[in-house]
Every structure is written in C-alpha cells, then in structure tokens.
Amino acid sequence: MAESIAFWFLSVVLVGSALAVVLSKNLFHSVLFLALALTGTAGVFLLLEAEFLAAVQLLLYAGGVVTIVVFAIVVTERLVGERISHTNRSITAGAVISLALVGLVVNAIAQRPLAMTRQPLSEDMTRTLGEAVLTKFVLPFELLGLLMLAAMLGAVYFARPED
C-alpha cells in the first residue's frame, strides 16, 4: 500500500517535471525541472531498493549534469548578450509521433504477462557492484575510464579560450 502511494506520487512528480522540461518557455526553468525529474528518478531507484544507484543518480546526474548545463547557458547567454529563445516548433507532428511510440510500447507491455513479485537480490548490493566491476566487468570498467578521460580532454580542448 505504502509502495503504491510512493509510486504514484513519484510518477506524478516525474511526468509533470518531464513535461515542464520540454514545454517551458524559459531555458533556465527547463534545466531546473530536469533536476527535479532526475531527483524523482532517484526516488524510483530507492523504491526499487537500489540505494547505491539512487546516490549515484543524485551525485552525478542531478549534481553534475545540471551544473554543466547551467554553466553552458550562462556562457552562451553572456556571449550573445541576450536571452536565448526557447520555443517549440511543429508541436502537432512531434506530439503525434511521441504518442504513437508511447501507445505502441504501452500496448506491447500490457499484452505480455510480466512479473508482479520481486526476486531476492544479493544481500549487499553496493558490495556486489564493487566486486563485479573489478572482476567480471573489469574490461568495460577500464574502457569507461578511457572514455571519461577522452571526454574530459575533448571538452577542455573544445572549450579552450580563443587565440
């Protein structure tokens, strides 16, 4: 019962803030609503008993990504010296395509018999995650480190001051 209430509350927050992200007329408001949507997702992770992922979501996503986007807006607005316009075009076509896709997926989900009960996970999820990335998934983990380094160097190179 408590889970149902929490789920519906988080669903309303998540869907509402997601709609605000794509419909808001102010770019800055969009970003703040994105932060709310990402926090709502962290709540959904908590509901699914993935505490470590909820913490990562808050730190990296809601903390990191939102900060980067705010910096980008501040930098570009300072360069152009005016408010960046933030409107939508061909709303009807976009809505038709999105609704068609959602209808298709929801229909497919409704037709399949899906699990109603949760399966027991490992006792300590954080420990399992830590052990997995250093044993079974060590190669993807190292490649991820390489990708992060490349992304960081690339971002610094692109955003360097003009000569």
């Binding site: 994105l34 949507a37 699914l48 986007v69 395509i97 899906l114 992304a151 971002a155």
Partner: protein, 99 residues
C-alpha cells in the same frame, strides 16, 4: 506495484523526452530531451534487474549513467564551440552541411 507499472512510467517519460528532442528549436533544449530519454532507459534497466533477481541490470545502469555524463559534457562543449563559430544555438540555423 508490478514490473508493468515501472515499464509504463519509463515509456511515458521516454515519449516526453522524444517530444522534446523533436520539437525544441534550441540545441540545449534538445540535449535536455536526450537526458530524459536516457533516464527512462535507466528506470527500465533497474526495474528489470529488480524483478528478475539479476544484478547485471544494476551494473549496466552504473555504466549507462557514467556514459550519459560524458555525453552531456561533450554535447555542451560542442554547443559552446558551435556558438562561437555561428553565434547561434538554434538547430534550424546550424545548416553548414546542407548542400
């Protein structure tokens, strides 16, 4: 709440993100839509992991979150660079490759 409820929620959020990507004029707005779509995929991965009792979905989500952060940093660096060259962040005006 069964798996179905979580998958439906993720599908709706994905659809909203797709709407944002399709209709926003501003490149930063398009990037925000992409973030929403990636976020919906993460909900799916965690829900499947939780209801199937396998840890792999959760591990994959950690990788997906890290790659999204790298994507956001690179995407915004490209936006700033484009802005320096073209003085605009409107996707309609970024038509350098148009023949």
């Amino acid at each position: 709440m069964g798996l179905q409820a979580y998958l439906t929620l993720a599908a709706v959020v994905f659809g909203i993100g797709l709407f944002g990507v399709l209709t926003r004029r501003n490149t930063i707005g398009i990037l925000l839509g992409i973030e929403l779509m990636l976020n919906a995929v993460n909900i799916n991965l965690v829900a499947f992991a939780r209801f199937s009792g396998s840890d792999v979905g959760m591990i994959f989500t950690v990788f997906a979150i890290c790659i999204t952060v790298a994507e956001a940093a690179m995407g915004l660096a490209i936006v700033i660079l484009l802005f320096r060259i073209r003085r605009t962040v409107m996707a309609d005006h970024l038509d350098l490759l148009k023949g």
